[in-house]
Symmetry: C3
Subunit: 412 residues, 3 copies
């Protein structure tokens, strides 16, 4: 870490500044905000509304994802700290690469929409970070950010421009993609000692409460996440209402399943922190379709059930049999519910809820997202393992003191 | 807990889905958002503004109330976790029952206003939850949610439709109602061991800091709470400004009284966490009236004083003499300041600040809210005690490990 | 503390109520919100937008500054608690004194803009609070609030009305001013025992995580802070976008420098909590100028570097050589980056980015802000030390148990 990390971080920031200096302008004229005696109040409304939704997503990224991962008792600094670092790089790189792809290599103008797209591309990396949390170095994470966002932008282009699939909440292109990408990287970086629970891989009472800060801000603002790129008006309204009802139903089924599956009917904090959010993912792909409130509730309820069962049965199976160790269980919060989202959108289209996409195109989008993620994740994992290197040794897994000046870690 | 809780939770969610499937539609046409070349920008503004205020209230419900109750050292999981569970059920049930009452049993259309009303009805239950915190099971809380919201909707109908009283911040119909409902339930569920302080009924240094997260988000967004159902424009503006000035004045009097009443002039975290919010309740009923900023500050200042004195003198009296144990002191934060709010509105009307309500109708509304709450709370308490059952035994009061998988609870 | 603090707090609140009663009205007619069939949707938009930005700033003040200072292991109650107290007084006093200055002693009308200005003037005190944290009594802080805001309003009048300088994010008038004012007070209140680290002046693992709550909310909403007093439309848009890009670049350079300067390349939480925010300050003065995104990134990157170097080299120098002990390192987060902001604005104007201010006026504004702060801080420090008195003795520095009822402080 001595010099490698500062050099990588500096070099990436200088590269961003150079790329932005060459290619990026803000052009206010593009926004029609400058005309003093304008009649385009709708334009201004749209801008204000977008800024408000953008900020909600921003809270989700920095407070939501950052604190959600602080559940480990000795890895809180890295969770919230590397989350901030990775997101800050991702916002710049995501804004740049999406802009340059859409401008076909020309200079381009940026506004609030580009910042939103930068935020969204970054979420992909933060999801994958959850799968490798505690087992990867900061330098590796910076490189993974660059590679994953590039793969994300490629898949998004395929899904949106070629397949013309619907995915307003990006449950396939962000959540499923981020989860399977992270699992593929985690598979490459696997160490046999992870088979049985690592002695540092534990939560503490207060670290679980810190994680709930993340859960709650993610939960509260998820309707904004699913509606931020929706078309204005009707579709945006639908995306907000459907996500809201999916989430509330998901909470009840997640609690019920958690109690059902635990010894003596107790609740498990891991389920509450994560599975209560699965409803937001599960309804994401068809959130702007008129699926009726009870339809959202059914989808959200299924999301909560699937997620808890995933934590209980799939995660141990992945760890021991597939040699994939998923620290935060992102497969259960983002992967499985992302698949549910794709399937739900196919059912919704079959029932006539959309005229803009077809069942085949939705299936193609789901397949493309998972396929690109797995291939991209495997390649990225190999690059991190053999080219970037610097992965912490297994005895330093889940331990802040490797990367942070720590006085004394907590033991309760 | 083994099977009862999962069955109750599943059954309630299935019931909600069935009720929503039969009765609830979203009708975008009702919102006039769908006309592309519309001139109704005010309609759009209103929608955007409501969504923004709605989200503030949402933060108050999940982060505000959730973390405010984490002050107990060994009951943080339940505080923030059962808060999430109860609120998720309450949002569905509150939206449904308010809609069906107003539609007189017909199908009805829902939008952002219904979601706001769902949120508000839920707050009632979360306030009552504070009175019984640590002494009630999750299943009992789910049943209480159903019963209390039904009673709330009945009283709200009386106050708003029959008495036509003013109560923009719902200080009588939500805060006083929720407090006295909770106290009545707490009286029924009383156990003699609560007379002297339970060994688990203590805060810890960090649990008090977690609680401050709740306090601060409640404090910051209280102006949104008091203005979210105000009429647009002037009245909404008044509700925001008045609540703001009431809260800042309340902080100074609450700090002064806390120091005045404690040994050696020290400050008590319990007062700071709670009494600083009393100004938001106390000004709630007349917040949209032109009471002038200094009027708001007087009301808020009184709220802070009343609340601290309540914590110091009334709470011990309730516990030992009235056999009512109020865990969070909701009587001091919501009950007394709710009464202050009703009285303040009567004084304001006497001084000519409102033409839409009369002093008699305000007094009737206050009486109705407290009366309905006490009767409803007593009946609910009896149902919980003798029909639902499953209350934890007194040695398990205030202990997360009864309902949660907990590694080891904190001792500092 | 026994009677002094309650008397001071009560007396100040009564004084505020009297002053507001005599001088302050809200006049809705001034806002043009009351016309039902209005065509001025822009007016309404502006109001809504301002309320949204105002709330963001409010979150920064109460949650942001409050939790940022909880990093000390035994001083969390005072950090978040006195922050709330001081801010509540500051909001009232700042609103009043700014109003009375602009109305030249006449009655004046208040609206959302006055509340924003009240918030901003309060930030100055909260910054200075960081310099004296743990070494000052609550009563002293209340008096300092009154004095500092008066000095702030004087300097702001000079900068805005006489020099007509640009400072949209108030990096000179708030951040540099607050930092140097606080340093001057800290110099007067210095005690030789602070030369070597006080045994209570330590963070704990969880107190550092609480502080990150503050950091993240400050970071997320800083674009709102820098744009809240910007002219509507184009300038506001620029202030948001420029601050956003300055902040993301600042994070990468702050992390890089922290690792570069620490032993074995480790990261230091103090740097991450503070220096990642320096980009928001550094770009503040020229945030509404068309400096291009890469220009913002350069300024933010410099802010992050300067801030970390300040923590590493200047803070120890100040403590041991200048006899100024800066508890939170506000010089590195607000002072130095505030100077960078002033210099950046001079460079930007030299490059033609603004027609409304000149290089000379910017330099005068920077000089005036620092000069007024130092003189005002020295006078205030002397008043606190010799007239107000009641400073805690050095063995009680950084210890909540002096002012708070504390069961047992944490040791980890």
């Amino acid at each position: 870490m001595r010099l490698k990390f500062p050099m990588v971080a500096f070099a990436l920031e200088v590269a961003m500044i150079v790329l932005f200096g060459i290619f990026v302008k803000y052009d206010i004229e593009q926004m029609d905000l400058h005309q003093p005696n304008t009649t385009n109040s709708t334009e201004v409304d749209r801008y204000l509304e977008l800024h408000s939704l953008f900020q909600d997503v921003h809270v989700m990224i920095f407070v939501g994802f950052g604190f959600l991962m602080t559940f480990l008792r000795n890895y809180g600094f890295s969770s919230v700290g590397i989350n901030l670092l990775v997101a800050s790089l991702g916002l710049q790189w995501g804004t740049f690469i999406q802009g340059i792809v859409h401008s076909h290599g020309q200079k381009f103008y940026i506004g609030i929409k580009n910042m939103i797209n930068g935020d969204l591309s970054t979420v992909t990396v933060l999801i994958s970070f959850g799968a490798v949390l505690g087992k990867i170095s900061p330098s590796q994470m910076l490189v993974m950010t660059i590679l994953e966002i590039a793969a994300f932008v490629g898949n998004e282009y395929l899904v949106g421009e070629i397949f013309k699939a619907s995915d307003v909440g990006a449950s396939m292109t962000i959540h499923a993609f981020g989860a399977y990408f992270g699992l593929a990287v985690a598979g490459i970086l696997y160490h046999p000692s992870l088979r049985k629970e690592h002695e540092m891989e534990k939560s503490a009472y207060h670290s679980d409460l810190f994680a709930m800060i993340g859960t709650l801000f993610l939960w509260i603002f998820w309707p904004s996440f699913n509606s931020v790129i929706a078309e204005t008006g009707e579709m945006q309204y639908l995306a907000i209402v459907n996500t809201y009802f999916s989430l509330v139903a998901c909470v009840l089924t997640a609690y019920a399943c958690s109690s059902l599956l635990e010894k003596r009917g107790k609740l498990d904090m891991v389920h509450i922190q994560n599975a209560t959010l699965a409803g937001g993912v599960a309804v994401g792909t068809c959130a702007d379709m008129p699926i009726r409130p009870f339809g959202s509730m059914v989808i959200g309820g299924i999301g909560g059930i699937v997620s808890v069962f995933g934590f209980k049965f799939l995660t141990p199976f992945f760890t021991t049999k597939l040699r994939i160790h998923d620290t935060c269980g992102v497969h259960n919060l983002h992967g499985l519910p992302g698949v549910v989202a794709g399937v739900a959108s196919i059912v919704a289209i079959a029932l006539g809820a959309s005229k803009t996409s077809t069942m085949a195109m939705q299936a193609a989008a789901l397949g493309s997202s998972i396929g690109t993620a797995v291939v991209g994740g495997l390649i990225t994992g190999l690059i991190l393992k053999f080219i970037v290197r610097g992965q912490p040794s297994e005895k330093n897994f889940f331990d802040d003191s490797v990367y942070w000046k720590v006085l004394k870690v907590t033991k309760d």
